[in-house]
Symmetry: C2
Subunit: 397 residues, 2 copies
Amino acid sequence: MKKILFALVFLFLTAFDGEAVERRYGTSALMVVVERESGAVVVIDSVEHELLGRVEGLGDLRHATLVFSRDARFAFTIARDGTLSKIDLLTLTLERQAKAGDNSIGIAISRDNKYLMVCNYSPGGAVVFDARDLRKVKEIPAIYKEGAAPSRTVGPLDTPENLMIFGLMEGDSVWVVDMKAEGFPVVKKFESAGETPYDQLITPDGRYYLVGFEKSDWMGLVDTWRLDRVRKIDVSERNAADEGAAPIHHIPHLESWAISGRYAFVPAFGRRRVLVYDTEDWSLKKSIPISGTGLFVVARPGGREVWVDNTGAPGSAEERTIEVIDTETLSVKDRIDAGKGAIDPQFTAKGESAYVSVREEDRVVVYDTDTKKVIREFKVRRPSGIFSSYRAGQFGL
Amino acid sequence: MKKILFALVFLFLTAFDGEAVERRYGTSALMVVVERESGAVVVIDSVEHELLGRVEGLGDLRHATLVFSRDARFAFTIARDGTLSKIDLLTLTLERQAKAGDNSIGIAISRDNKYLMVCNYSPGGAVVFDARDLRKVKEIPAIYKEGAAPSRTVGPLDTPENLMIFGLMEGDSVWVVDMKAEGFPVVKKFESAGETPYDQLITPDGRYYLVGFEKSDWMGLVDTWRLDRVRKIDVSERNAADEGAAPIHHIPHLESWAISGRYAFVPAFGRRRVLVYDTEDWSLKKSIPISGTGLFVVARPGGREVWVDNTGAPGSAEERTIEVIDTETLSVKDRIDAGKGAIDPQFTAKGESAYVSVREEDRVVVYDTDTKKVIREFKVRRPSGIFSSYRAGQFGL
């Protein structure tokens, strides 16, 4: 009976406004694209490559990031102005909002899907929210020494042990919070980890935490199973590797450093290079020249290719270029001219397609990754980050 | 306007039959449990641990398996009697059925979400279906030599290159089909790979294909990037490792052999052991005694633990036991008494919960994996395989 009524209603609605009936879809293969200047996200089905809808009113989305609820029904965005939003990806509506800070930089969801943590530049520190109703449940001020103001924080990232890890920019530290314990205690503080942590990642297996520093010639590596020390990974080669400094148009994103097999692919900070480290001993295996400075370095699922977008001067050739690195030969095997300001290649879960934001041309393009040909395009206003809902089940994303 | 009308309709429907309104949910965190003797599956939301519904009429589900569409809206089951079913996980209804054979054993979905391949014991060979309408589009008879009857096949598995790989039981071969090429050609035949292939896996990164043989003392390893040869991995230790043969109550499932870090955990065929191989050179690292013969060996996400169910004589202690192996010490650190005929631990994507079928007690239990305590139970008739919808984005699952 209920089904018949639904059918009647659908018919009625169709007749009523001339639109198609509400489309049903699974949520495992959505692409959520951030429109950085209009405070909106666009939601696309990456199986059929169909636009599903757009949700507005999310605040200042420059450098915005987002995470998914485990069932990928909801996306949580954190705007640069501190607006935390819960978006329903099925109804394509804004479900709820809260204020997380005055200047926020990162967000993560706890392993158990219950809590969100936001890292703030202002007022500094980190804040924990209930993922259900966005109620603030804890403030962690990140005061790293007596009398100091709260440090700006970067991160956070979630781990398989239900920890959250973040860096303290002024504190030169890495802190670890237990999201399962009453009151969300800071269970570990790594002091003097390195000068000015600026970005971080968790290896795909969830075990190792890597943090990059703006002013230290090393990366920090923490074994999250032990939490015993920050091992220093020498990255001084990043400064010696090539032809001299390149202007930094955007800070490279550590979150999407790529790991393929035993190698990690890392954009050199301020150099036109991708550095390849052997994760067995974190020795530098190779330095690969690219046309600009890499922003996102992303492994195609299956691990055979790594795609790198490039930043460069506005209007330059390099800011149009995506370089495809062969992970066996460790050299560039393809160059894609993707358009003005092409950034953030995001693969579908099995890698047959890649979504790319072409910021200065107001479009998102979809590539067949085998042929490197464009198979679909969407009009999107000033697109930036693209987030695959497959991340709902991945650590640190 | 449309939204108001929907709201009114929901209210009306609620008033009309006294039931709650239709529940909306994302599809990224579903657990689909096979009821092996009633031809049905039960669908559970593994975030809230709530039963969503049950779909019947799926044929003979002994040894049934299933795969998901990429968006996890649909599940495709292949029944032992050859019934291929497409289940809508949002409406919880049977969408469509087809006949794949008289005795079918496995199913996979192509990387591009467009085609299904089914392996048959009878009439042998493999069959390709359009995933949209279950129309049969190709038969691959698996005739391995002139005059021979079609071989029984096992598999198939999908790879990042959009290949399908399956084994020929009578043919002692491994065949590779290109799912992207017109007509689904067999692009490679590995002959004399080993005697009677019986099960197979793809490593989580999608690169290596592993096949087990009933009558050969090796496993076959194929590098799917090269497709140049079947490397023989010595498993003769599986027969020499311990106290003598144990009765085989069920054939161990290769599909869920576990890989954690650089180690592969493999149930010894007909021995009360889990064998640990170093995947760098496939040498035997350790042989771990367990109480019965292992059926499913599954890595908890994060890789710190491997859970092993045990088969044993009906009513025995071992068929109640799940052993938890510490992947650092390579020894059993916990034994869970999970109930009579406990099988197939299936973790949520981030590993905080594990679902276990307790076949002889008609229930599915959910464990908190940190405490190893039961947090939820469901009445399910003779449950067997449990399939997490997170598999929608994983190779070979």
